[in-house]
Symmetry: C2
Subunit: 200 residues, 2 copies
């Protein structure tokens, strides 16, 4: 039986950065395939009555989150530079992934976007930034960006975000394994164990 995990993330999400950078070697160890599923937290938060990141709406939660990220990044040996603006807009790279979800370069592109956002304080919402990241991977940035911003690219991300609602997703990262929901970077290893048939 094929083993796989659906990895739902938003490029603006701090804890999604941790999960995105960690997931591939951990999944490989368990022989689990990762399905990279970007979506937009914005509409999900709007439905919960929030017009901004909860880390901005609730200042004590926000202060804690940044300190927690510092400690976790040190633990995982991941770079972290607090973005000068938070949250960033992850719409553009998310559309590119939806329009190319089977491409072999998707994992590298996901990591490049998260790293630009959370280790280099780049604005991942900017066309030139995204074009630069695609170019570094040797890809035809102009063609990919134009394609992702056509009606089909827009439609695919909108549909994926609607699917997140249907799946009862309320935050990111979220891992789904055979209908079982795991929320947060803290649940990555439990979710992968579940995908590997371990129920403990």
């Amino acid at each position: 039986m094929a083993k796989y995990i659906d990895f739902w993330f938003d490029f603006a999400s701090t804890y999604s950065y941790l999960a995105a950078l960690r997931i591939e070697p951990l999944a490989t160890t368990r022989n689990v395939k990762v399905n990279w599923r970007p979506f937009l937290l914005g509409p999900v938060f709007t439905a919960m009555g929030w017009n901004d990141s909860p880390f901005n709406i609730y200042p004590s939660k926000g202060r804690y989150m940044w300190r927690d990220m510092e400690r976790l990044c040190q633990h995982y040996r991941l770079p972290l530079k607090k973005p000068s603006k938070f949250p960033r807009n992850g719409l553009r790279p998310a559309r590119i992934i939806c329009a190319n979800h089977d491409a072999v370069w998707i994992p590298d592109f996901v990591r490049a976007v998260f790293t630009a956002g959370f280790a280099a304080d780049q604005d991942i919402g900017e066309r030139e930034v995204v074009a630069g990241l695609l170019g570094t991977l040797g890809l035809d940035a102009e063609a990919l960006i134009a394609d992702a911003e056509g009606p089909e690219g827009k439609h695919l991300l909108r549909r994926q975000t609607e699917e997140a609602f249907k799946l009862d997703i309320f935050g990111a990262p979220t891992f789904i394994v055979n209908g079982e929901i795991f929320w947060g970077n803290d649940r990555l290893q439990q979710a992968l164990a579940w995908a590997d048939g371990i129920r403990d």
Copy 2:
């Protein structure tokens, strides 16, 4: 140097139940003393604009939390019976602890209250339930309850909840080690390692 951890919890909090039942053997291994600090989440949530548990206000978060609790309790080999009413009112047992914070029976009483609430679906807000738990520990329930409900007992819990605000606590359980905040049962082991001088 004495090693200790401040363990802030609310008897109504599901993830506090997990931490309360797990903390003592883990702390003993690291030679860390546990300071049991009950407080009331209610005023904290009110200040955040919530008039109920966020697990009730946001149904998708609530559905997830109960499933997550099921999986975690299975993992930790802890019993779980979803309370017929959630959240319960933890005021009465919290006052008893504040009025007797140095007593040797505090850890047993904390575990007894949490177990009554989350493994036996008892109403821990009820005087008779709390009296029964104290009696099982061989204590003078009537005297302890009367004492905790006097002006001094009420004052102590109010002051402790005010202290939680000052410490920037926004949820439970919260662990504080030398001013460093760790939120959630998921951070228990990291917080204890910190108390043990390990910064990784």
